[in-house]
Symmetry: C2
Subunit: 312 residues, 2 copies
């Protein structure tokens, strides 16, 4: 098969686009795909500095690389999650990436904040993925706001968005369906705009891009993700994709084009303000402060319980 653009030998085959590219043209193709998504969905302009949430994995590093290569003004934000060697490698690779490209990187170590993922999981009944999601959202939102960025970009790809959509649909999470979109406008003075420039780019494509661009990313999955619901949805969608190529893209695109309209007005309205930290909240406490309260309650219970065991 020949490269669609330059007719040289193709190295990357894209079944859902029914085309193939050589190395150089694939990199060009993918960058242009992202540029079009940014422009068509009006995610941000060249005047705005974009804060890219980077984990150290292929998707977020590819996103940062693409946006920087396209000439957008970017900075990175990284959370060191405190999940042993996995987190250490993630932080190292993220810092090396930023250093090599002279990009500004804001790093927050959750251990120093007292909310390393293992600590929080041990202190609450939440699953690691649920706790991690709440903490990440909180810090990304807060740092983007505090550092004055107008927009926060995440590396969610097509597979992520399709799996999330499938999960929302299987449980008919009408509120979540109303909100699922590659551009989330600010609904609170402390929320900045959130965008997903890779929402039409498959996991296979970001992996190929990262490989061809020589990006050194963490290949291992998070050790907590074993058996995660999201992976079960991805597996089901991959099976559908194998038999019916283009299923994921059509699922997400047609949702944005027609399906989503049905749910608009079911989003649960605009958020209020957390009485504890001032962040946006549905209810009196934001999800993060709710989690913190659980962790603190556990810390207070523990010494009390041990001293009780000493007095018979």
């Amino acid at each position: 098969m020949k490269c669609k653009r330059c007719r040289r030998k193709a190295e990357v085959h894209l079944r859902q686009h029914n085309s193939a590219f050589c190395r150089g043209c694939f990199v060009f193709f993918l960058q242009r795909q992202v540029q079009r998504a940014v422009e068509k969905q009006r995610m941000f302009t060249r005047d705005e500095e974009v804060l890219v949430a980077v984990s150290g994995g292929k998707d977020s590093l590819a996103l940062w690389d693409i946006l920087a290569e396209l000439g957008f003004r970017t900075a990175g934000v990284h959370l060191a999650l405190g999940i042993g060697a996995y987190s250490q490698a993630s932080t190292e690779k993220t810092e090396a990436f930023a250093r090599a490209r002279g990009q500004r990187l804001i790093t927050v170590r959750l251990e120093e904040e007292g909310v390393a993922i293992p600590t929080v999981v041990a202190a609450t009944h939440r699953s690691a993925c649920a706790a991690c999601g709440i903490i990440k959202r909180h810090y990304f939102d807060r740092l983007a706001f505090e550092y004055g960025f107008p927009v926060l970009a995440t590396g969610h790809n097509l597979d992520d968005e399709a799996a999330r959509l499938l999960g929302n649909v299987l449980h008919w999470q009408v509120r979540h369906l109303a909100k699922q979109h590659p551009v989330m406008q600010s609904t609170h003075e402390r929320f900045v705009r959130k965008v997903k420039p890779l929402f039409r780019i498959s996991e296979y494509e970001t992996a190929a891009y990262a490989f061809l661009r020589g990006i050194d990313y963490v290949v291992d999955e998070c050790p907590n993700s074993v058996g995660a619901t999201q992976l079960v949805y991805k597996d089901a969608l991959n099976r559908l994709e194998t038999v019916m190529s283009g299923t994921k893209l059509a699922f997400v695109q047609e949702f944005l084009r027609t399906g989503r309209q049905a749910f608009v007005g079911h989003s649960g309205g605009v958020p209020e303000t957390c009485t504890r930290c001032g962040a946006p909240a549905f209810g009196s406490l934001c999800a993060f402060c709710g989690l913190l309260q659980e962790v603190e309650a556990k810390r207070q219970r523990r010494p009390a319980a041990s001293s009780a065991s000493e007095t018979p």
Copy 2:
């Protein structure tokens, strides 16, 4: 494991209901489940005679058996599709079932009507499943109306409904989503009410019921169904069900409870009347007459083409 009802040894295990039954109690349980669905969804009353669409497979024969055992007034309607040995066996088993139970059966042979499935498929570009669906719907609707039945019941089970829902969602078929319901009220003077009393009963349960009741049904799948889209959706849902028991039931139930509300008003309105046959139609011709026209056009083209080949 012991029978939930009588504490004897259980023989049928129902994971999604987290229970198990002995033979006798399972039959009782399943019949009562169907009775509850009929009553709760107000499908029909004991005064109404129900026309059951029977293919000769496990679901439709189990449905007919259950409704008759529950004391509802029933008759069967069967279409001999003309698909070789498969159809012959289906018709024989359906007729034997009706005869053995002294039930009235209306049988229509599509070959005699000039629309046997292989004939129609050869004459059009439709897939066998698409053509068969149009023909079945047309004859079932027409026969129910012409014979004066107030309601038509089909054997669609939970797996069928979940697969259909998944297909509608993956393509965001908003009109179809608006219409998907176990009870379809009449929207045209020639449409009778259509109901699916098995919509909460899994394929595994109808198979177990048919086996335990000694129903002699056609075990083979239709030879045309190989690779059918519906089976791909069923496979994906079965994988989800394996990991997350209860997924299918929750998907369908929660759709009916909350998700479906979002689509009401997108159904495309009430049907008009087919200018050719008087049946309900969206457009000037009903789907069946559209199909007939294709078949007739092909018949007219064929002799013309062969005579043309004789004159160089």
